[in-house]
């Protein structure tokens, strides 16, 4: 744990986290832009999410009189938990001190913490929609989580580490190896990511139709800076999943040494990977329609099945060979 006293490393980690947090709305802007283009609409500006957030931060916060103090605390908890999650994910560089304070299971735990408070906040105002949204969100998450961990386990068993930086190191050191298990794990993780970030076909981030809302139902009572934090956290979460998938399955380009050139290369690489991923997501969101809620379990079971196949192929095809 010698990295701990590395001042340069910490600065870099802080910088990376700041970049992560500030870039998240940009990613959403990019996604919206792509979607609009694909749907033959006029696209909003790439920076529109920033404008929205600024607007919300300026606005007065209104709180339901039935709500408890938890309602006001929740956005901060949700946001900080998401930020801490973002901080431990290697974005540009692998060898950062933040990467070792939490492994991938802790990361899932932090997302869980954020979700826990999000769901509680949904129920706090005492309206019908909030509870509905919380119930659905928790249901979906509880099915997605095992699939995700199963996929992650497949990777970590290959890399023999649950620490992301170590795992990425390992994969980089191995060079290009085509693993069937990774293919299945990637598929599983993609499906889970879609479900967890509330994208079509599991949830529609733009809908406010009562019967279909999941995420939106929970934050229905929020306004002003609270809403801004919640929205920002959601955008951050999308980026987290994007970076996770990008950097685990296609780790190439990420900075192994903390030199400026390497970091710049890393920045370019991750930007490219994320942009590509967004294209995939935008296309799929355009092509697919939102599912009924009770078809989601089937969808997530598919994810789990992929993850399980990944595990099986790892044990049968890769270890034995």
């Amino acid at each position: 744990m010698a990295d701990l006293l590395n001042l340069q490393g910490w600065l870099l980690a802080l910088l990376q986290t700041a970049l992560f947090v500030t870039a998240a709305p940009l990613l959403v802007g990019w996604l919206r832009l792509l979607k609009a283009r694909l749907q033959n609409r006029r696209a909003p500006a790439l920076t529109q999410p920033y404008r929205d957030l600024t607007k919300l931060f300026r606005k007065e916060a209104i709180v339901a009189d039935t709500a408890s103090p938890l309602f006001r605390a929740a956005p901060y908890v949700v946001f900080s938990a998401t930020v801490v999650t973002a901080a431990v994910i290697p974005l540009l560089a692998v060898h950062l001190p933040t990467a070792i304070i939490a492994d991938v299971i802790v990361l899932v735990g932090f997302l869980g913490l954020a979700r826990f408070f999000l769901a509680l906040a949904g129920m706090d105002a005492g309206t019908a929609f909030g509870g509905m949204g919380s119930s659905r969100e928790m249901t979906i998450a509880s099915l997605a989580e095992p699939a995700m961990l199963m996929a992650v386990f497949t990777l970590t068993m290959t890399a023999q580490s649950t620490n992301l930086s170590h795992a990425i190191d390992f994969l980089l050191a191995q060079g290009v190896v085509l693993r069937p298990s990774f293919m299945f794990a990637l598929l599983a993780l993609l499906l889970v990511a879609v479900a967890e970030t509330g994208r079509v076909p599991v949830d529609n981030p733009t809908t406010h139709l009562e019967l279909t809302m999941v995420h939106e139902a929970m934050i229905l009572e929020y306004s002003g800076r609270h809403l801004a934090l919640m929205e920002w956290a959601a955008q951050l979460k999308l980026m987290i999943y994007g970076v996770l998938i990008a950097n685990i399955f296609l780790p190439w380009g990420i900075a192994v040494e903390n030199t400026p050139t390497a970091l710049l290369v890393g920045l370019g690489a991750i930007a490219g990977k994320l942009m590509l991923l967004c294209v995939v997501l935008a296309v799929s969101e355009t092509v697919l329609a939102k599912m009924r809620l009770f078809r989601v379990p089937g969808y997530l079971n598919l994810a789990f099945l992929f993850a399980l196949l990944g595990m099986l192929s790892h044990v049968i095809l890769e270890v034995g060979a």
Partner: protein, 671 residues
């Protein structure tokens, strides 16, 4: 020293019981003598346990027991650890008790029974842990069962409570007998009842298996493993809440202690198959426990089912430990053991915290059903906050203690790659995924519990009128909540102390979980996995602070309070809120075959217009194990009894013919 303190602890709890005898006459005695004595006992047990955990094993003999076998007591690190756990929870319960039992003072309940049996119950648990021979173990074990049974039957005017108490005692008895027989096998090969002799015994594989199976059955029944759990959700909720805390928080751990003691210490050489069985049974318990809990609306019943879930998790870790030990990876075996025991400690803390919280809620609202609560966080801010910490811990969210132990368990599972057997290498990750599913469902469960009970608007008048519970009650919860947080944030410190336990169990190696200092948990190696809870908390705090300051630095700290959005239909009533039943509906639908569901919708319509006037929705959730296991057994006994009763026909000539034919038969037999 440790032994002495523990002896004081036992003596104090017994004294508390004896003083309790007088409580029927002097009712205040319960609050001002019994509970303080119990608290002292808890402190002594905790201190003694801590000393034993860090010190050398100590043994002594008591002038009691069989003529040829005095009761022998011994404390080693494992016993010390469990005593520490018992002591802490007992202390918290003793602080909570005086305030909580105030409502019994003027009732018709026999306070003497409460005082006496609480003392005996605690003493029984302490004695089980320090017992060093099978006889004393069984006496203490059954003392624990029997006295807790009386506590379950405390509010016996309710027929359901009596039924629960009956079921509890019956199953405790059966489980106790199985354990006894397990000891019987060990004693037969060891040539004596002392644990010393049993340790030395060389068991053939078959008989080791029999002993293990009996112990697993008996201790599993007490610990509430599915499908032997039927008593647990019945008995735990009906006892007074501080007793429920002791039962769920501590007694189940004593059962786990027994299992660990017998399997790892007395039998010693474990087999892989056992581990697989334990692992699978644990997974099943964990998953079914949380799913059943999800459908409960009674707050204490829900918590009881959640205990089944957590016991399942503990057994999963134990199963992993057995698998690793049996396949020649003692280091990983120790890791699993530590994970299991750490989770046991954590569960003891947060489950008793939650039960005490439930007790406070029930005392203030007189409601047991979640559907009748709501908005309690505003009315009981302390209880609400501490309860939230309990919920976060039990939902295994970082940086609380439940997460630390579950993380260790998952890490243990991930080491399944080292095993030679490909099947195990697949099975173990799958069970790990089950664990993840359980944890996620657990989070949902506690969102449901906390959201329905403490958030939103009060659903009943009683919930609206809840008041602050007494200081002692709040202090007890605060203490436990603080411990939950501490053990979550500084797991390395506590696990470091536990390092001596594997050594005490047949000299297993100490796992290097804390090899990187107090800041880090590194179960296998720093490269494989690391978790630094303090730094994580620091990061969380920093992020919070940063954004809080950023946003509140300006002049808009104030928020405007208005009614929530009502879709334009007029004021929102509390009845429009999502109910606990509705919250669990998606899960109910997805995992439908798990429960026996009886759902009835009653439509009442106006006679004249035929318009729908009201709708009643009724949902009956029954445990499947009843239909599959318990009811057939009960029916079998009843029908056998009916058939047997034909013997007693009432006709004296028939009776004579029995005698006649018995004689003839026996004469024929011998000649």
């Amino acid at each position: 020293m440790a032994l002495q303190l523990i002896a004081y602890a036992v003596a104090l709890s017994l004294l508390s019981g004896v003083v309790g005898l007088a409580a029927s006459r002097y009712r205040q005695l319960l609050r001002w003598a019994c509970f303080p004595l119990l608290g002292l006992s808890g402190l002594a047990a905790a201190t003694g346990g801590l000393l034993a955990l860090t010190g050398e094993p100590a043994a002594a003999q008591l002038p009691l027991g069989l003529p040829w076998l005095a009761w022998s007591v011994r404390v080693d690190a494992l016993a010390g650890f469990i005593l520490l756990l018992i002591g802490v929870v007992v202390f918290a319960v003793a602080v909570f008790g005086p305030g909580y039992t105030r409502e019994f003072l003027h009732g018709r309940h026999s306070l003497a029974a409460l005082g006496v049996f609480t003392g005996l119950f605690v003493a029984g648990m302490q004695l089980v842990v320090i017992a060093d021979d099978a006889f004393m173990f069984m006496v203490a074990w059954e003392l624990m069962s029997l006295s807790s049974y009386f506590l379950v039957a405390f509010q016996h005017e309710n027929a359901a409570n009596r039924r629960a108490a009956f079921l509890y005692l019956l199953m405790a008895h059966v489980g106790g007998l199985a354990i006894l027989l397990g000891y019987g096998v060990l004693a037969a090969f060891g040539g004596g009842f002392t644990f010393e002799a049993m340790r030395a015994a060389e068991l053939p594989q078959l008989w080791a298996g029999v002993a293990f199976a009996l112990a697993f059955f008996g201790f599993g029944m007490k610990a509430g493993l599915v499908p032997l759990h039927a008593w647990l959700p019945e008995a735990h909720p009906v006892a007074p809440s501080h007793i429920s805390a002791l039962m769920s928080g501590v007694m189940l751990k004593v059962a786990i202690y027994g299992f660990v003691r017998v399997t790892f210490d007395l039998i010693g050489t474990v087999q892989v198959d056992w581990g697989v069985i334990v692992l699978l049974a644990g997974s099943l318990s964990a998953l079914l426990g949380v799913l059943y809990a999800m459908q409960q609306t009674d707050i204490k019943r829900l918590l009881a089912y959640s205990s089944i879930e957590n016991v399942g998790v503990i057994f999963m870790a134990l199963g992993l430990a057995i698998i690793f030990l049996a396949s020649g990876h003692p280091l990983l075996g120790s890791l699993g053991l530590i994970a299991a025991l750490y989770h046991a400690l954590n569960h003891a803390l947060f489950k008793s915290l939650l039960f005490l919280g439930a007790g406070a809620v029930i005392q203030q609202t007189h409601q047991h059903s979640l559907e009748h609560m709501g908005g309690l966080l505003k009315r009981l801010p302390y209880t609400g906050t501490f309860f939230l910490i309990g919920c976060l811990s039990i939902a295994s969210l970082p940086p609380f203690n439940g997460f630390a132990s579950e993380w260790l368990t998952l890490q243990t599972a991930l080491q399944g790659v080292v095993l030679d057997s490909g099947v195990l290498r697949i099975v173990i990750p799958v069970t790990a995924a089950m664990l993840a599913l359980t944890a996620a469902l657990g989070a949902m469960l506690f969102v449901r519990l906390y959201g329905i009970a403490f958030l939103g608007q009060p659903r009943t008048r009683q919930a609206r009128q809840a008041h602050l519970p007494s200081f002692g009650m709040r202090a007890a919860q605060g203490l436990l909540a603080l411990l939950c947080l501490l053990l979550g944030v500084l797991p390395a410190l506590s696990i470091d102390v536990m390092g001596a336990i594997p050594q005490a169990l047949g000299g297993l190696p100490e796992p290097g979980i804390t090899g990187q200092g107090w800041l880090w948990l590194t179960p296998v190696s720093a490269a494989a996995a690391s978790y630094s809870a303090p730094l994580v908390l620091l990061g969380l705090g920093l992020a919070w602070l940063l954004f809080y300051l950023l946003l509140h630095g300006r002049n808009h700290q104030r928020v405007r309070r208005i009614h929530p959005w009502d879709c334009g239909f007029g004021p929102l009533s509390p009845r429009m809120q999502y109910t606990a039943t509705a919250f669990a509906q998606p899960v109910r639908r997805i995992f439908q075959p798990v429960w026996l569901l009886e759902e009835k919708v009653e439509r009442l319509s106006d006679d004249k217009s035929g318009q729908l006037t009201s709708l009643r929705h009724q949902l009956l959730v029954t445990d499947r194990s009843w239909k599959v296991l318990y009811e057939p057994a009960g029916r079998w006994v009843i029908s056998a009894a009916r058939r047997i009763a034909l013997l007693q026909s009432g006709n004296v000539r028939t009776y004579l013919s029995y005698s006649f034919f018995t004689l003839i038969f026996l004469l024929w037999l011998i000649s």
